[in-house]
């Protein structure tokens, strides 16, 4: 089996398959006559919810999914709402006195058996569709969709459809040695989390992945994307050797952990990490991270059904602040909309969500949400070195409006006698070309800048990187894009402001020297990338990096620039 390697490293372990339904074997009791109508309506309600859930997945991803993918999901809703399943379930409830959960399980089992006995391979494979429908219905009957209660043993390789941000946050990743998902790619949440915690991962393996059973022996190569199921001893031995070599490489990288990132001619660079919760800090510091260049807050928000209260948010920032101590932590305020939705804010579908109501635009509109978040951050700022970063700022007015609100939150706290760090820095994330082109002007109000290359590149080149037809145009070595970065850095430097980068480009080994040559001050990335980037920085002279940048700028295409950088990095 093969998917896309999204987090490097080799893992050999035991499969733990997350099937989105809890076991119902324990429930065997029968029900009384008077409860039957309620059980039937419970079933109908669960069907409705399960159908709604799938339809929501379709709606949220309509622009991203291929028509085939949508057709598969629509088929799912037909299975879930199947009239034969319903009448069989109703029969079992009425005539066999079974609770809905047990009735569903039995009906599904007999249908699965019937399809399993068919002589047509295609129809035999439909068993999984029926099983899936049953699981979704049962999940809603039991109202239990969390993985938090699961226990993992050491060397577990998680196999799942997809790891939702909520799942990812509730799983104890210290026991997980690998992750493979049916869905997703390099930028899915599962991949981001795997990289930040140094767990090898493969995404986009396709539905056959779910044929893996619990306790199957799995070899997973997060670099090549290969997955081997129940390999023979010969293969296991081969991969053990490979693993030893790759582990040794990562060990030697750990050796450079405590060395500073400094060029041969003495330019000091700050290497920071991108994280979503305080649990990732330990790994970040192990990898040599000097602080947090991006604390994403939206995963925390997405975990909550309701808007998290000021106290809940305060707890979240407090844990990060305390764990990081004196090390700086840049907290990005809520960055939802686009492809990220939260349950408590139903943002109507937009024809261009990436150009729509998202990030700071929501914050300035829903000032109640923004002020609560700012108050919580300010309160936690006393306990560490927190900074505030505003996402998706496109003009000076937005920045001014946000800063007025921050001032308001500060005076509210002062009035209530609550302490906060009155010198807290506020910066902006550069992800919109207009902002990147006027960092000089924005410097009046912004204490620092951090370039978010993923969105900035996408907006600069007008390429949706999720759209497979055009994704190849998305390239951060585009000569125009590089000039935009340079402009942003130069203007900010003229005003004495530092510029970091927290997008994917900062951990691209090929890009490091180029960015260094442009004058970038801080690189923020997934923890596991830090040692590699540090090694590159330690081996180069700043003046050579500048020269390499200047030469690259004479080239007319990204492929030419890439080739040149590849040559230079040998």
């Amino acid at each position: 089996m093969k998917g896309t390697g999204v987090s490097p490293g080799i893992s050999i372990g035991t499969a733990y398959v997350i099937r989105k339904a809890p076991a119902v074997n324990a429930i065997t009791n029968t029900i009384e006559e008077k409860d039957k109508p309620a059980e039937i309506s419970n079933f109908d309600k669960a069907v409705k919810e399960a159908t709604g859930e799938v339809n929501r997945i379709i709606d949220l991803n309509r622009s991203r999914f291929k028509p085939e993918d949508i057709a598969i999901l629509e088929t799912q809703t037909e299975f879930i709402g199947d009239s034969q399943i319903r009448s069989d379930v109703q029969d079992k409830i009425l005539n066999e006195n079974l609770p809905a959960v047990v009735a569903v399980r039995e009906v599904i089992q007999s249908m699965v058996q019937m399809f399993g006995e068919m002589d047509d391979e295609y129809l035999r494979a439909r068993r999984t569709d029926i099983q899936d429908a049953g699981k979704r219905i049962i999940k809603h009957l039991l109202k239990d969709d969390s993985e938090s209660a699961r226990r993992y043993t050491e060397n577990t390789i998680l196999i799942a459809e997809d790891i939702s941000p909520t799942d990812a946050l509730s799983i104890d990743t210290s026991l997980i040695s690998g992750i493979a998902t049916v869905e997703g790619g390099r930028t899915s949440h599962a991949a981001i989390i795997a990289r930040s915690r140094g767990i090898p991962a493969v995404a986009g393996c396709g539905p056959t992945l779910m044929e893996i059973a619990d306790n199957d022996t799995i070899i997973l190569d997060g670099s090549t994307g290969d997955i081997l199921v129940n390999p023979d001893n010969h293969k296991i031995e081969e991969y053990r050797k490979k693993k030893k070599i790759s582990d040794r490489e990562s060990e030697s990288l750990k050796l450079i952990r405590d060395k500073p990132a400094i060029t041969k001619d003495g330019r000091k660079i700050h290497l920071l990490g991108n994280i979503s919760s305080h649990t990732e800090l330990e790994h970040l510091f192990e990898c040599g991270g000097e602080g947090v260049g991006l604390l994403r807050t939206e995963l925390f928000f997405m975990q909550h059904e309701k808007l998290p209260s000021e106290e809940e948010q305060f707890e979240f920032y407090l844990q990060v602040a305390i764990t990081a101590g004196k090390k700086p932590v840049i907290v990005r305020t809520l960055d939802i909309g686009g492809d990220k939705q939260v349950p408590f804010l139903s943002i109507p579908a937009e024809s261009n969500p990436f150009l729509g109501y998202r990030a700071i635009r929501i914050s300035l509109d829903r000032t109640d949400i923004f002020l609560t978040q700012i108050r919580a951050i300010l309160r936690a700022s006393v306990y560490g070195n927190l900074k505030i970063m505003l996402p998706m700022v496109s003009c000076l007015d937005e920045l001014k409006a946000a800063k007025t609100l921050i001032k308001k939150a500060e005076s509210e706290l002062s009035d209530s006698g609550i302490r906060y760090n009155s010198k807290i820095e506020t910066g902006i994330m550069l992800e919109i070309p207009s902002a990147a082109l006027m960092t000089g002007m924005l410097s009046k109000e912004s204490d620092f800048f951090s370039i978010g290359t993923n969105d900035l590149c996408q907006y600069t080149m007008a390429v949706d990187r999720m759209n497979r037809k055009v994704a190849s145009l998305y390239d951060h070595f585009n000569p125009g894009f590089l000039r935009l970065l340079k402009t942003a850095i130069d203007q900010a430097h003229e005003k004495g402001k530092s510029v970091g980068m927290c997008g994917e480009m900062s951990s691209d080994p090929l890009a490091v020297i180029l960015l260094l040559g442009m004058g970038l001050d801080e690189f923020s990335m997934p923890a596991s990338s830090i040692p590699v980037v540090k090694q590159i920085i330690n081996k180069v002279d700043y003046k050579d990096a500048k020269e390499i940048y200047n030469i690259a700028m004479t080239m007319e295409s990204s492929s030419e620039i890439r080739e040149y950088l590849q040559e230079k990095s040998k």
């Binding site: 088929t75 037909e78 299975f79 009239s83 034969q84 399809f115 068919m118 295609y122 129809l123 569709d129």
Partner: protein, 88 residues
């Protein structure tokens, strides 16, 4: 009641995607629409039932529409089996 025979032209037979489309189409009519193969007939309401007929490419099925809008329904079925089935 109207009865008409159709040959399955999709090389994969009556698989989940056309079955989904067929069920959705049948919902537009008040008539009871059933599909029949080898003497076994099921209403066009349940995905599981339709698939359980294991209808393969080249096989013949009988569609029966019965109700107020039976002739319009049959026209829609006709279009589905002769035209739309090419597109899955």
């Amino acid at each position: 009641m109207i009865k008409r025979d159709f040959i399955i032209i999709d090389p994969l037979g009556m698989h989940a995607r056309p079955a989904t489309a067929l069920i959705k189409l049948a919902r537009n009519f008040s008539s009871l629409i059933t599909i029949q193969k080898n003497g076994r007939s099921v209403p066009l309401k349940s995905m599981v039932n339709i698939l359980s007929l294991a209808i393969k490419a080249g096989e013949s099925v009988t569609i029966i529409t019965e109700g107020e809008d039976e002739s319009v329904a049959m026209e829609a079925m006709d279009h589905f089996f002769t035209e739309e089935m090419k597109n899955f």
